[in-house]
């Protein structure tokens, strides 16, 4: 039941994007998000979308997987799109009773929806192609300068790794507990909201208990292997920026510059 969520999952592969340095990937994702929000007219929006779809196809992960990750957010996209189309003031282009679609409203809803979709695509691009461990390792390296302000960067990254590592385990556990309580006649599917929340107590309590048990076991196991935090710790994989990474940086920054040029050449859409 809970195995169908693809948002935020990692799909192992061997593509150009998979092999990029995770630090580079994180930073480039941020740059890409900027270009998405900087695009001010249809042409730059389209160029952006085209580029992102190109990156998506480079990952060699089925497009369906990306669409699946959007399933939950598609509702929000549609909802905000609808709100924007009706609730903007401006020159009317379509009228039906109380419903008035304005020029601005139309543009606005397209821009908002497209930006949301691209946002999800870009973040999926990162999480689909980067294993949780290299992701946290990259974050650890990126926030290392903060150690100067007495922030325990290694511990933060370790906590993130552990949290990510246990998501599938806990999902599996939840499935098992739900089955067990259903076998005892727990009614989890019907009833009003209050009853439904109440009926999840038999699932949540055992889940909490087992999370604590797992945390305790893990802490013990780490201590048995003499784990004592980041000081003096070396890494098995050393991140290096290669020629692929430089290409990726050039392409993404090229896109940024291109979008900025289009923005300055053509008038911005009224929002």
């Amino acid at each position: 039941m809970l195995n169908n969520i693809t948002l935020g999952r990692f799909f192992p592969g061997n593509s150009f994007i998979h092999k990029l340095d995770p630090r580079v990937k994180i930073l480039l994702m941020i740059v890409l998000l900027f270009t998405v929000f900087l695009s001010a007219n249809y042409l730059s929006l389209f160029v952006n979308f085209f580029a992102i779809m190109l990156f998506v196809s480079l990952t060699k992960i089925n497009l369906k997987t990306y669409l699946k990750s959007m399933k939950f957010i598609l509702f929000i996209v549609l909802f905000t799109g609808m709100l924007n189309i009706f609730y903007a003031k401006g020159t009317a282009i379509f009228k039906l009773g109380v419903f008035v679609i304005t020029d601005e409203g139309f543009n606005n809803s397209i821009f908002v929806s497209m930006r949301l979709i691209m946002l999800i695509l870009v973040s999926s691009l990162l999480t689909f192609t980067t294993s949780p461990t290299s992701l946290t390792y990259a974050i650890e390296r990126l926030i290392r300068p903060l150690a100067k302000f007495k922030i325990k960067t290694h511990e933060l990254a370790m906590m993130m790794t552990i949290a990510l590592r246990f998501i599938p385990t806990l999902l599996e556990e939840t499935d098992k507990i739900i089955d067990a309580q259903k076998s005892r006649g727990a009614n989890l599917e019907t009833g009003n909201i209050l009853n439904r929340i109440k009926s999840f107590v038999p699932v949540l309590v055992p889940l909490f208990v087992s999370s604590f048990r797992r945390a305790y076991d893990l802490a013990l196991a780490m201590e048995c292997r003499c784990y004592k935090g980041g000081e003096g710790r070396t890494c098995m994989k050393i991140l290096r920026i290669g020629s692929n990474d430089i290409w990726a940086i050039l392409i993404v920054f090229g896109l940024l510059v291109f979008v900025l040029i289009i923005n300055s050449l053509f008038p911005a859409v009224r929002l």
Binding site: N3, N4, E173, K176, I177, D179, A180, Q181, K182, S183, R184, G185, A186, N187, V201, P202, V205, P206, V209, S210
Partner: protein
């Protein structure tokens, strides 16, 4: 009369995705009322998946599960009644405890059935007695108990629903020999004295051989055999080919038979072996 009838049961995990996997294929069998059934098969052979179909936790991809002459999926709204009739104890059931007191936890099943209060109380005490649980523990928190006691509470929670069919998935995993023997004996009583059907999934062939009337052998989602322990465990080559072994004493007797062809090899317990061997020695 058949208590449970399985017709052409096929189950495919995550159907329609690239990860689709056939877990059960085309299983046909009948389980009688008041029968002790053992299910064996190596890890991943589909034992648990099969069991989950019996109390409607999984819906067959194809085929039917018929309980008391009625397809359990005919009325999806009545599915909870199936679960009250067919009780299921999962692996490590102690992980499902959640109430403040042991009493409340055991009463969870019966109160979901909508029974009146005095009836619930009766069932809780009955279940405790059955599983040999100290009444003093009833008003403690389940999280204060030892591992073995927790397991007992969890099993009592299913017994308290008084199911007509009781399924247990590896209930004795991690038990010491004495508690294991006790629990199996109690299950035997549940079947013998109260006329219920018990289905036991286990990797311990000695236990299965000792208690079952019939044994279901699964391999890779297929039904390989459904027969009496004697017949199942005499098929030594077939068992070995699907990664199973007969009980130790049976293996010994089968090895002896190769030396002394007069000996019987359909032997499942130490007592039977002693008898057979002493007879053999006397007659020489």
């Amino acid at each position: 009369m058949a208590k449970i009838e399985i017709q052409d049961l096929t189950y495919i995990y995550s159907e329609g995705t690239p990860a689709a996997k056939k877990a059960l294929s085309n299983i046909n069998l009948c389980i009688k009322k008041n029968e002790f059934i053992g299910i064996i098969g190596r890890t991943g052979s589909g034992k648990s998946t099969f069991a989950k179909h019996l109390n409607a936790l999984l819906k067959p991809t194809e085929g039917k599960v018929i309980l008391d002459g009625k397809d359990i999926w005919d009325e999806p709204k009545e599915i909870r009644n199936v679960r009250f009739k067919v009780g299921m104890v999962f692996q490590y059931p102690e992980h499902q405890l959640f109430e403040e007191t042991v009493y409340k936890d055991i009463a969870f099943g019966p109160s979901n059935m909508g029974l009146p209060k005095d009836e619930i109380e009766k069932k809780v005490y009955m279940a405790c007695e059955f599983i040999n649980l100290d009444f003093d523990l009833l008003y403690k928190s389940p999280f204060e108990l030892s591992g073995g006691e927790k397991r007992k509470v969890a099993i009592a929670g299913v017994i308290a629903m008084d199911p007509e069919v009781l399924i247990l998935d590896e209930p004795t995993a991690g038990f010491d020999p004495k508690s294991k023997e006790q629990l199996l004996y109690q299950l035997h009583c549940y079947y013998k004295n109260r006329g219920k059907t018990v289905i036991l999934i286990s990797h311990n062939m000695d236990d299965i051989a000792k208690y079952s009337d019939r044994i279901i052998v699964l391999d890779n989602g297929n039904l390989v055999m459904l027969d009496s322990p004697k017949r199942v465990f005499s098929q030594i080559d077939l068992l070995k080919s699907i990664g199973l072994e007969p009980p130790q004493i049976t293996s010994i007797m089968q090895a002896l038979k190769e030396e002394f062809p007069d000996l019987s090899d359909e032997i499942l317990s130490v007592d039977e072996a002693v008898e057979a061997l002493s007879n053999f020695v006397k007659n020489r």
